[in-house]
Amino acid sequence: MDIIKSIRNIIRFKHFFLAAILLAVLTDAAYAAETSKIDTGDTAWMLISSALVMLMIPAVGLFYGGMVRKKNALSTIMFSFIILALISVQWVLFGYTLAFGHDVGGVIGNLDWLGLNGVGQAPNADYAATIPALAFMAFQGMFAIITVALITGAFVERIKFSAFMVFALLWATLVYDPIAHWVWGTGGWLRGMGALDFAGGTVVHVSSGISALAIAFVIGARKGFGKQPMEPHNIPMSVLGAILLWFGWFGFNAGSAVASGGLAASAFVVTNTAAGAAALTWTLLSWYHKRPSVLGTATGAVVGLVAITPASGFVTPLAAIAIGAIAAVLSYYAMLFRMKRNVDESLDVWACHGIGGTWGAIATGIFATTLVNPAGANGLLYGNPAQLVIQIAAVGVTWIYAFVVTFILAKVIDATIGLRVGDDEEAVGLDISQHAEKAYA
């Protein structure tokens, strides 16, 4: 009886109202707790994305390794592999805090998170509210590593291994970590300016592409460059590398949504579309000049992936076709230009990543739309030319900073420990002279 009466009481509006408020209060409290709650789907996606980006790192080694002569195959693969080891540790010890730690003057992170102190299983809402802060750290760590690995294409077949190790460590610390902070760190000055870089067009590709050019100038050309053929020793290996890069790039771009959902799906689609468009375009270009080239098609795909990277969270799939196709054309002729100028930036990191990334960042200022990502901005085509200016400024700053610091860094290393191996060692090949190993029996 009492119960029936009570239920009747509740049904009466007044009491219903009361209960509703109560429920709301309770739910509110639950929501408050919810803001820092880990989403299993988001976390699963970030973990697999981090793993995918990790796979891209040795894939760069294969991609480059197939393009060098047999006597330097191992040394080229080693570059990426050892950077994976070296920068993984650097990032945990102090790289992450420099790039993403609490801001100091918009330029760099402070040392609060040294040795991952305070970076734990709870989310950090500044960067990603639904995944553990450690997951965001791991994902960003892979970005730092691959950026350094990309540069290695510039100095293959002639760099001294010890000098390379020193360069890699210092470059990550002096170039990558600051630029990552400017663009992505809370309080970073380029981020504050409104620069859009979804997955690293400026931070990863422009910075590595320009730095590649700088160190190539300092180290000088390979012996016999321009006179002897420098034949790629194993194109299937390069293609295998390109395939794994394409595969991993889904994590690179779609993972940059730092959540699983619509934005990640959009980034996934534009990534694949741009790669296809660029690979096709490159095939046609090589066909126009001679025959449809396999190595060229693989290169084209990578260039398209590079170009779509900064735009991937802001543009539509149709824009991706334009971005990819134009990137291939620009990169193709940049590569020919580099050869004509007789600059031995050996594996065209500048033409692929520097030019591709620059175009992608600028294209973001043209094609971006808040229809894809309300947290982004509109670009030129959507009535906002200011965004284009901001993008160009961000790219310009990165070009200058990366070039200058890398050039000085390379010069200093050259003057102290020496960047280059001796003539004999170069002639024998780095596999034997630097590693006392042979790739193939």
Binding site: S286, L295, G296, M335
Partner: protein, 112 residues
């Protein structure tokens, strides 16, 4: 006894093997070599643009034959390998002093 050393296009190997077999010449050694003659090199594609290699893939056949088999062997090889263009290859004939068959210790003609 003579040594016949023939440099040929790789795609002609099987045809030559059959032609030589018809003439009764079975034993031979095949090596992958790189060669250069009037055909000069060839230009291949780099990612953009191209590079030229100075040596081309060839096969080298070595066989030791009785003096009387030299001309039939030359005929068999040229019959199959001749396209009339540069790059068909060359045949060299050398004198051989002696031959030893490792499994039996036989020498000279019996050892071929």
């Amino acid at each position: 006894m003579k040594k016949i050393e023939a440099i040929i296009r790789p795609e002609n190997l099987d045809g030559i093997r059959i032609a030589l077999q018809e003439k009764g010449i079975i034993g031979m050694t095949v090596s992958e070599v790189q060669g250069r003659g009037r055909q000069k090199g060839v230009c291949l594609q780099w990612r953009a643009g191209e590079y030229c290699i100075e040596f081309l893939e060839k096969l080298k056949l070595d066989m030791i034959v009785d003096d009387k088999d030299v001309e039939p062997a030359i005929a068999a090889i040229t019959q199959v390998a001749k396209t009339g263009r540069n790059g068909d290859g060359k045949i060299f004939i050398y004198p051989v002093e002696d031959v030893v068959r490792v499994s039996t210790g036989e020498r000279g003609k019996e050892a071929i």
